[in-house]
Amino acid sequence: MRASDVLLIALRGLAAHRLRSSLTMLGIVIGVASVISLLALGSGAQQMVAGQIQGLGSNLLWVYPGPPTQMGMRGLVGTGSNLTLEDARALMDPDRAPSVVAVSPQVNTTAPVVAGGLNTTTSIRGVTPEYVQVRNYSLAEGDFFTPQQEESRARVAVLGNQVAQTLFPDGDAVEQWLRVGPLRLRVIGVLESKGGAMGMEDDLVLVPITTFQAGLARQTTAGGEFSLQVITVQVADGKLVEQAKEEVRAILQDRHGSSEEEDFSIISQEDVLQTVGQVMGIFTLFLGAIAGISLLVGGIGIMNIMLVSVTERTREIGIRKAVGARRRHIMLQFLLEATFLSLAGGIIGILLGMGLSGLVSGIRMGEVALQPAVTLPVVLLAFFLSAAIGIFFGFYPASRAARLDPIQALRYE
């Protein structure tokens, strides 16, 4: 018997029950399409988040008060209170920390901001002029505050783009006044929108750190010094990040006294990316596994239909055996039917999955667009997985068909 004949017989068998065949296929189509699109979505989201983290600035280190926690992620950022402005200044030491190019100390609070009749509650950040450089902001209007303004506790503020739009819907935020807690502040600049869902990078008000210190939250160290929530350190070059980490660590250890456990933690962008990558990877795998379950269900559907088909076609099997079909001929016929069903379903599912991924691609979150990535390995995986499903779930029905006794099969009504 020729291979082409076996294929032809199998195809005819499927064509004889078009509705049933297509419904059976649908199980695999849905399974494969969801595997493809969810994996694509997962890796797209991973890339998007990575893009956003990189968008925060380049070659950054974050120094947080409090000891490091597991996996480099902090549970509660800023709970410790032992980083001071002096610490931040000490990091700008070209001799001890040559890899460091800029240091940006920061304190945060959340407070209502009122301007005219409008108000919004937003993140208030006390920062130094280095913030703009370190965090890659640019100004849409006006200017950022100068070192002089910072030193003199000037009552000025720079608004995040979203805050400016909320409080000054007519535009012209610069030179307007607003109130934050007890402080009346003059708006001197508005930041260019940065987008980004992660840190709400546009929903903030920046004030000189000294102004913040004087008029807003007063978190202090044990020694009564004004404490920081984070120091952002910009490193000269991506290759120097690890070196910079060590330099910063050495300086802070000297200043804080080297106890058993460090009372600060240094996290690099790499660390965050890695952690996020791990989390997203697990998330993607999880999505894939759920989709895989639907694929399994599709496979069981194939097995079910093939069993029904074998029973229904008992007489046909008997006839084929009577005229000389061997076991393997019958086996092959039904195995091929099952494999064709799942493979065709797999191919349609791959196309559908690509289409679905295409639909959500380009959804923007700030600067970064979601780019679901249907990669070749995923396509190949789906292809071979669906073939394997057909063979696996087709095997039992096919061997049942092959084992049928021709006499009983011929007598079957």
Binding site: A16, E316, R320, A322, V323, G324, L410
Partner: protein, 224 residues
């Protein structure tokens, strides 16, 4: 052609054993037309299945065209059926949703032969049904379906044509046509035919008649 020696067939029923065939010996020569008669439950079907290589005897020897087939494997039996036997059933047993021509090609597919279309056409013409080549079984009358079945049985040039109540589902006129076709094939092509029937007047058209009862076969001599 058929040389059977002491064929028995036992079936296990519950605890007991039933001997459907109790030592059957049968010889049919090349070019003969033989009829096997017997009431239902006589072992007729069992004998038929063994002659047709659909089943193996429990004991005894069966040589078909000199080839010992009583102890072959399932696949080897399938090959014997394909090469040497043609079946005609009471219920035609054609594949539904498949044209007459494709039905006839079926044994050739499993024989792995080329030029199947031509051979199938030839067989179809032999049974006088060329004009119905592309009809499906459901579009054919009983007689026509049986002709297609006969063409299928003939297409791979078998040594033995085995017909199990071939006219059982047909009215007498159509049945007569089918019998004439068998006689034609027997006379013109020298085909060996074994016919299983319970109708005496059909059996009478064969040169040799066998009667089976309670698993024991004997030949009827003489006319009627």
């Amino acid at each position: 052609m058929i040389e059977m020696e002491g064929i028995t067939k036992a079936y296990h029923l519950g605890r007991g054993e039933v001997l459907a065939l109790q030592g059957v010996s049968l010889r049919v020569e090349r070019g003969e037309m033989a009829a096997i008669m017997g009431p239902s439950g006589s072992g007729k079907s069992t004998l038929m299945n063994i002659i047709g290589c659909l089943d193996r005897p429990t004991s005894g020897n069966y040589r078909l065209e000199g080839e010992e087939v009583s102890r072959l494997s399932d696949d080897a039996l399938a090959s014997v059926r394909n090469r040497k036997l043609g079946f005609v059933f009471q219920t035609y047993n054609l594949l539904p949703r498949t044209s007459a021509l494709s039905n006839i090609e079926l044994p050739l597919i499993y024989a792995g032969k080329g030029g199947r279309r031509g051979l199938a056409w030839e067989a179809l013409k032999k049974v006088g049904l060329a004009q119905r080549a592309h009809h499906r079984p459901s579009e054919l009358s009983g007689g026509e379906q049986q002709r297609v079945a006969i063409a299928r049985a003939l297409v791979n040039r078998p040594s033995l044509l085995l017909a199990d109540e071939p006219t059982g589902n047909l009215d007498s006129r159509t049945g007569e046509d089918i019998l004439k076709l068998f006689e034609d094939l027997h006379r013109k092509e020298g085909l060996t035919i074994v016919l299983v029937t319970h109708e005496r007047d059909i059996a009478l058209r064969a040169q040799r008649r066998f009667f089976i009862r309670d698993g024991i076969l004997r030949e009827e001599k003489g006319e009627g």
